[in-house]
Symmetry: C2
Subunit: 112 residues, 2 copies
């Protein structure tokens, strides 16, 4: 049973991150847990993937961050910007087109 991760995620990371941040602001560590939970334990995204990706999305203007201290620990909390919400909508429709296209190719056909 091959892992879902490793490669296949490429190009979909942005959508995932924007999506978990849609309902509420979260910090990196919490985002990783949220992805794990929401995917039913299937998605285990390493920190070396998430933190750089978050910075990239902030750079792009889709996220904004601020530091907070909770229980003696420092967190950088990310929230969606309005541009981020627009981007998320685009990612969702892109995902629809993507799965539809791949799915129709992968559909089994009668052997000639």
């Amino acid at each position: 049973m091959r892992d879902v991760n490793t490669d296949a995620l490429r190009g979909h990371m942005d959508a995932l991150l924007l999506s978990v941040l849609e309902s509420e602001p979260l910090h990196g560590y919490a985002i990783i847990e949220a992805l794990q939970e929401r995917s039913g334990g299937t998605l285990t995204v390493p920190t070396g993937t998430v933190y750089p990706a978050l910075r990239r999305l902030e750079q792009a203007g889709y996220l904004a961050s601020e530091w907070a201290t909770v229980g003696g620990r420092k967190r950088r909390t990310y929230r969606l910007t309005s541009a981020g919400r627009t981007a998320l909508a685009g990612e969702r429709s892109a995902w629809q087109r993507f799965t539809s296209a791949i799915g129709s190719v992968l559909e089994p056909r009668p052997t000639k």
Copy 2:
């Protein structure tokens, strides 16, 4: 309207190629056309992607190829091996798990 290609395909190319070769052997050029047709014109895979990928899959033992001359033109025709059929089955279930995982994360939720 962003293109479906570019990045998102990464990690799914193998599944696509194995799938179009399931029903009948095809040569590279025909494979590209088949992908285009089956996806309803959405998937335009460049030759620089397909040919190396086919070689990689042959190297892996999932495909076998042989030269044929049709109308003065040389074609290298690829067909699925039995290992390739097994791999295709694996790719299909991986695709199911993949879309299920991403889909459940992307699903919109009520804002807190």
